[in-house]
C-alpha cells in the first residue's frame, strides 16, 4: 500500500501549527523512518494518516483512497488494513494476551467474532499461530499487564499480524524498552514486515536503529520535511540541525551496543 501526502497542514483549535505543507510519497513496500525532535509533528502526521485527526489543509491517500474523505464503515475498512504499533503498547491490560490478539479482528470481523467467548475456531487457531510467531504462545492465557514491556510490544505485533495489514505505522515502538528488548522488537517487527512485504512508517528517536532498519530517512522539523535521504547518507550537520544539538559519531554507527539515545 502506498502513501501520498500532499500539502498537508494541521493547526489545532488553540492555534498551534503542528504540520506545515508536508509533501511525502512513500512507495508500496518501502520502509521509512521518521526522525525529528519531540513536538516536531511526527506523531500528529501518523494520526492524520490514520484519520484520527482532521486535516487543516491538503490530502492524504493510502492505496489510492483519500483518508480525509472517508467516513464511518469505509474509514474503518481502510484502518483495518493499517497496523499500528505504539510506544506504550496500548494493549488492554486486564484482559488475557489471547484476547488482545483476537482484538486484531475487530476492524474486519466486528465485536462478536473477536471475543474469545464467541469467536470462530478459525480465529482462535489463527490467534495462537500469531502468538507463536512472536514467540509468546505459552503466555496466551496470562493477563497482559503481567508481561514485561518487550513481551507486551510483541503481543501488539501479534495483534497486528492477526489484522491482515498492508501497511504498518509504528510510533516510537522501542522508546519505552531497554536497548536489548528494543532491538528484539525491531528485529521481529521488520522480519514480519519483510515476510508480508508491508509498507512501514516508523517514528524513531535512536539514530543508529534508524540507520540500520530504514530504507529511507525522513526528517521533520517544526512541521516541515527537512530531510529525505537513504540511511547513513545524512551528515552529522544535517542531523544536528534536526535536533538542534551536537551529534556524537557513535550514535550513527550500526549495531552499537549500549546505544546513545537521541533524547
Amino acid at each position: 500500500m502506498d502513501v501520498v501526502i500532499n500539502g498537508v497542514g494541521k493547526t489545532y483549535p488553540d492555534g498551534t501549527e503542528v504540520l506545515r505543507n508536508v509533501d511525502l510519497t512513500i512507495g508500496s513496500g518501502e520502509g521509512v523512518v521518521l526522525l525529528g525532535a519531540n513536538g516536531c509533528g511526527k506523531s500528529t502526521l501518523l494520526r492524520c494518516m490514520l484519520g484520527l485527526e482532521t486535516l487543516s489543509q491538503g490530502t492524504i491517500s493510502l492505496g489510492g483512497q483519500s483518508v480525509s474523505q472517508l467516513k464511518g464503515r469505509q474509514l474503518r475498512q481502510l484502518r483495518s488494513q493499517i497496523g499500528s504499533v505504539f510506544q506504550q503498547f496500548n494493549l488492554v491490560g486486564n484482559l488475557s494476551v489471547f484476547q488482545n490478539v483476537l482484538f486484531g479482528r475487530l476492524g474486519n470481523d466486528g465485536l462478536l467474532r473477536s471475543l474469545n467467548l464467541t469467536c470462530s475456531q478459525e480465529n482462535r487457531e489463527r490467534a495462537m499461530y500469531c502468538l507463536d510467531r512472536v514467540g509468546l504462545a505459552q503466555f496466551a492465557a496470562k493477563r497482559t499487564d503481567s508481561l514485561s514491556g518487550g513481551q507486551q510490544q510483541r503481543v501488539a505485533i501479534a495483534r497486528m499480524l492477526m489484522q491482515d495489514v498492508r501497511i504498518v505505522f509504528a510510533d516510537e515502538p522501542v522508546a519505552s524498552l531497554d536497548p536489548k528488548a528494543g532491538r528484539e522488537v525491531m528485529d521481529l517487527l521488520f522480519e514480519v514486515v519483510h515476510e508480508h512485504k508491508l509498507t512501514v512508517v516508523c517514528v524513531l528517536h535512536q539514530l543508529e536503529l534508524a540507520n540500520e532498519y530504514a530504507q529511507r530517512l525522513v526528517g521533520l522539523k517544526a512541521g516541515r520535511v527537512v530531510l529525505d535521504l537513504p540511511p547513513n547518507k545524512a551528515s552529522k550537520a544535517e542531523l544536528a540541525a534536526l535536533y538542534d544539538r551536537e551529534i556524537d559519531s557513535a550514535e550513527l554507527l550500526n549495531g552499537t551496543e549500549g546505544a546513545c539515545y537521541a533524547n
Partner: protein
C-alpha cells in the same frame, strides 16, 4: 555566609481577618444553629426523662422474644430480596446511562447534559420519598421497595460508573480504533474491561446501601422487615421489636463484611 538582607515584601500577618463572604457564611450558620437549638426545646429535664424512657424501653424489651422469629426471618429475607433485585436492575440500567453521561463515551453534548441532570435528580430525591411515590403507584408491598431501590441505585451507580469511565487510559481504545474498530467495539473491548473491577466494587457497595435502605423502606409500607418493625413498635411489642433490630444488625454487618472481602479481592 552572605549578609542577611531584608526581602522587599514583608512577611504575612500572624492573623488575617476573614473575608466579608466568610463573615456572612459564619453569621448565617450561627443564626441557624442558635435558632435550631432553641426550637428543639432542649432542657436538662427532658434529657433526664428521655434517658429514663429509654431505660424503660430496654427493660421491657429484654430478653428479646423469639416467638415470631420465623415471621421475622421471612420478612428479613424479603428485605434482602428487595435489595438484591433492585440493585441488579439498577446496575444493569446504570451501565448504558453511565456511558451516555461520561464525556469520553457520550454520543453528543446534549445527551450528556440531559442524562447527567436526570441522574442528579434521581440522586437528590431520597429513597424514602421514591418509596412513598411507588407505594401510590403500585400499592403496598415489595415491588414499591424494589422500584425505589432501582432509582436510588441508578442515582449512585450511574454517577460513579461515569466518573470511572472518564478516568480510563484512552490509549488501548485508540489502538483498537486505529485498527478499524467501531465505537461499540472500542467501548466493549477497551473501556468496559478496564472499568470492570471498579464497577463490581461500586455495585457491591450499592448492595450494602440497598440492604440498609430496604430495612427503612418498610416503614412507609414498601415491603420487607420495616413493616414488621413499625407494627411491633406501634403495638408496644418491644421484645419483638428488639429481635427485629438485632436481626437487622446481624444481617447488615454480614452483608458489609462479605462485600468488603470481595472488594478487597478484586481491587
Amino acid at each position: 555566609m552572605q549578609t542577611e538582607t531584608q526581602p522587599e515584601t514583608s512577611s504575612p500577618k500572624r492573623f488575617q481577618s476573614p473575608s466579608v463572604f466568610a463573615w456572612v457564611i459564619l453569621i448565617v450558620f450561627l443564626a441557624f444553629f442558635l435558632q435550631g437549638l432553641g426550637s428543639a426545646d432542649i432542657s436538662v429535664m427532658r434529657l433526664v426523662k428521655g434517658s429514663q424512657n429509654l431505660g424503660q424501653f430496654f427493660a421491657s424489651a429484654i430478653p428479646p422474644s423469639t416467638s415470631r422469629l420465623d415471621v421475622i426471618a421471612k420478612a428479613m429475607l424479603e428485605t434482602m430480596n428487595m435489595a438484591i433485585v433492585g440493585v441488579t436492575f439498577g446496575v444493569i440500567l446504570s451501565l448504558p446511562i453511565a456511558l451516555l453521561c461520561a464525556r469520553n463515551t457520550s454520543p453528543h453534548f446534549l445527551v450528556r447534559v440531559v442524562m447527567i441532570n436526570l441522574v442528579a435528580t434521581l440522586r437528590t430525591i431520597p429513597d424514602l420519598i421514591w418509596a412513598l411515590i411507588f407505594v401510590v403507584a403500585v400499592g403496598l408491598g415489595p415491588l414499591a421497595g424494589i422500584l425505589a431501590i432501582i432509582m436510588d441505585t441508578i442515582g449512585f451507580c450511574a454517577r460513579f460508573f461515569a466518573e470511572r469511565i472518564e478516568e480510563i487510559n484512552p490509549k488501548p481504545g485508540v489502538a483498537l480504533k486505529a485498527s478499524g474498530a467501531s465505537r461499540t467495539s472500542v467501548i466493549a473491548g477497551a473501556v468496559l474491561p478496564e472499568c470492570f473491577p471498579s464497577f463490581v466494587a461500586t455495585s457491591l457497595y450499592s448492595v450494602e446501601k440497598a440492604v440498609r435502605s430496604a430495612v427503612v423502606l418498610g416503614l412507609v409500607g414498601a415491603g420487607g422487615i420495616g413493616v414488621e418493625l413499625t407494627s411491633a413498635m406501634n403495638l408496644f411489642r418491644y421484645k419483638e421489636a428488639l429481635t427485629i433490630i438485632l436481626v437487622v444488625l446481624i444481617v447488615v454487618i454480614l452483608v458489609e463484611q462479605v462485600s468488603k472481602a470481595v472488594r478487597a479481592r478484586i481491587m
